[in-house]
Symmetry: C2
Subunit: 413 residues, 2 copies
């Protein structure tokens, strides 16, 4: 792997991307503040994004993709830090279910993130130093507000579709609830209308692991020239377990030993699962900012649409948006019961909703992996919605097997 950048290089790349991203950036000046749920506002601020495909003349073919906790705007193009392909290249691209030959796809880094949208790793305009904990705590609604400002800036009134999994699905639901007239179709995948007690608990463990690391320096590690790599790695390891199912872990690793024939009677990584988790932890710290991890997990914890609107059906009152809700059988982080709660509320609101529980043993991460039923379902839903919206049909069809042709990489959530 001689061509891969080394960890310090990766980290330096990651730092520079937080401030000056390689992607497109919409900048909002001191006179264009972003008002936040906490009552504060930030200005100037910016949102980093990528686009794919071409906006049509009547601006009716825009699709917004919302990323998950540690995702980014590089949904279908190479990540400039890791050099890896886009995180959802099976879903978004020419001939894919979200077909960039037909749709104009926008994907932005979330507010509070660390890939160029304003967040704790960005420079606080008042001090010229990184915000760190002086960044106000943000919510999923704040993330969506920021996206709406970007969509305004792009001159788009109504999004044809908003699509996302996990925290991306939360944003989808928030879009549909906050801006019902601006969302023609919504695809919330492997998500919930609120963060459960168990999920808050796992996030809290991750945050405590970060904050327990003395190199976290009460959040001011960038100025101190330090990095809470151990704490952030532990946070990632704990989270990563929740992204996989017991059975997929068993199938993938079982109790297999790592490069050895027998137990070593020590605390090295005897088992493959230990080695795998350590690797997940150590690679994560080079591409992600620890304070961003605090902010983005907090935004998820705070998410509770029913609390915002009084009840979940009220969140979708009189909605015209058509929904495709999807869950995975082995997802225990956002189990099917959470999706059913959304579907029941949509039914109570007399909304147009399809619901598919996809059979998969790959746990929560299934939405990022090569799961043909997910692709065919979303392809079908998007195509039907495009017909209803009157978006012209795309060019000649690609080979039918395209959905399953790419190899799985997985792991990013």
């Amino acid at each position: 792997m001689a061509d891969e950048p080394s960890a310090p290089t990766l980290h330096a790349l990651s730092r520079s991307q937080a401030v000056d991203p390689s992607s497109q950036v919409a900048r909002f000046g001191a006179d264009e503040p972003l008002e936040l749920d906490c009552g504060k506002a930030i200005a100037p601020w910016q949102i980093a994004y990528e686009t794919y495909g071409t906006l049509n003349a009547d601006k009716s073919n825009a699709v917004l993709i919302c990323h998950a906790l540690t995702g980014d705007q590089y949904v279908a193009s190479v990540n400039p830090v890791t050099g890896k392909p886009g995180w959802w290249e099976r879903m978004v691209g020419p001939g894919c279910p979200v077909d960039t030959d037909k749709y104009f796809v926008i994907c932005s880094n979330v507010l509070g993130g660390c890939m160029g949208t304003s967040g704790p790793a960005s420079l606080n305009p008042e001090t010229g130093e990184p915000y760190a904990l002086t960044m106000p705590v943000v919510t999923i609604r704040d993330m969506v507000r920021a996206q709406a400002r970007l969509v305004d800036r792009l001159g788009i009134d109504t999004l044809f579709a908003v699509v996302g999994g996990s925290m991306g699905g939360m944003q989808v639901l928030q879009w549909a609830a906050s801006y019902p007239e601006r969302v023609f179709a919504a695809v919330p995948i492997a998500t919930g209308a609120r963060h459960s007690s168990q999920n808050i608990a796992f996030h809290e463990v991750g945050r405590q692991a970060i904050m327990a690391d003395p190199d976290w320096c009460d959040g001011a590690y960038i100025e101190a020239g330090k990095r809470p790599v151990k704490g952030l790695a532990v946070a990632r390891m704990a989270a990563h377990i929740t992204y996989m199912s017991d059975s997929s872990l068993h199938r993938k690793f079982g109790r297999n030993l790592q490069d050895r024939d027998d137990l070593t009677f020590g605390f090295d990584a005897d088992f493959q699962i230990e080695s795998y988790l350590r690797h997940q932890g150590m690679t994560f710290v080079d591409r992600f900012d620890a304070n961003s991890y605090l902010y983005v997990t907090r935004a998820m914890d705070y998410f509770d649409l029913a609390a915002e609107f009084g009840s979940l059906p009220l969140a979708f009152h009189d909605t015209k948006t058509r929904f495709c809700v999807m869950s995975f059988t082995s997802d225990w982080l956002f189990p099917t019961s959470e999706s059913r709660m959304i579907v029941k509320a949509l039914n109570a609101a007399a909304a147009n909703v399809s619901f598919v529980e996809v059979d998969s043993d790959r746990g929560h991460d299934a939405f990022l992996l090569d799961v043909p039923e997910m692709f065919s379902t979303i392809r079908g839903f998007i195509t039907g919605a495009a017909r209803a919206r009157g978006i012209p049909a795309p060019g000649p069809a690609r080979p039918a097997a395209a959905d399953a042709a790419q190899t799985a990489t997985g792991g990013a959530d």
Copy 2:
């Protein structure tokens, strides 16, 4: 709570208990080494234990209780560090399912533990300093070997019953497999015949959290006068989530806020579940040794009866022991499928086995809580086995409601 000892006092108590426990202690001299699976031996060594009830004349009424990961010998008496009641006082005591009016109950601290049995917090006889990481890594079989030496010392040939949950259940299975002639009845609860990949993963997160704490000092924190409290607390928090079910967390905490009317938009414990987890972490560090946590989790990870015997049925080949295997519907750490694997192997070995899956939404911790069906099942099984063994009936019956009369405290695993 003015009468409760403060944290530093608790910790000092805990340290002294590791070396010089309040309970009974069986000491084995330099000429009585304990041979371990790793190929090393320790000598001199000791095992701390408590007993309840009276051994009958033919020594046929001895019951060994095996404790779980962070348990101790104080199964039915006050813990000298915390001042809290025994961890299984509903199960073990006068008139309880394991009736101390009838049986002679033994409960010892596990090898590798920190309540007086030899472990990393004990003094290394070669140096006079705490073993720390110079303590050899131990296995469940080593724990059981140590217990067998204690049982020998007490002059008992055959145990009437061996009973335990979680890691205690692993010891029960190991007893039945290693010493089939010495176990009349075996009650493995909420356990498995091997540690799963997911369970190893959670343990590895805990160990990494401890070892990431600079106050761990590469294991030599006692000599350094430090304590890796933050790392150990994070480990406990992560583990504690796995002891509860999603639905019990939802029922107990939901998204309720902690002593506040609204979100604070910060990283304090806004939610009750966060406050609860932090409390679990911080109280744990005062009563448990961080290195012991490494050793005992490692022993669980290494447990794999099928690997030891070639197959699980071979582990129980020709066994005369009668088994009562129990699982709980909402236990996702040791789900019913793990118990079924044990039962299938016992069936394949033509063993005498009852299997009960108890309906409970309280997750893995159910075995420590007030679950009447568990008590009545175990009472019935033990009573039947006592009849088969020819142990005289106990005195006059206690009130029938005794099983459910005590209030739940829970939380220790």
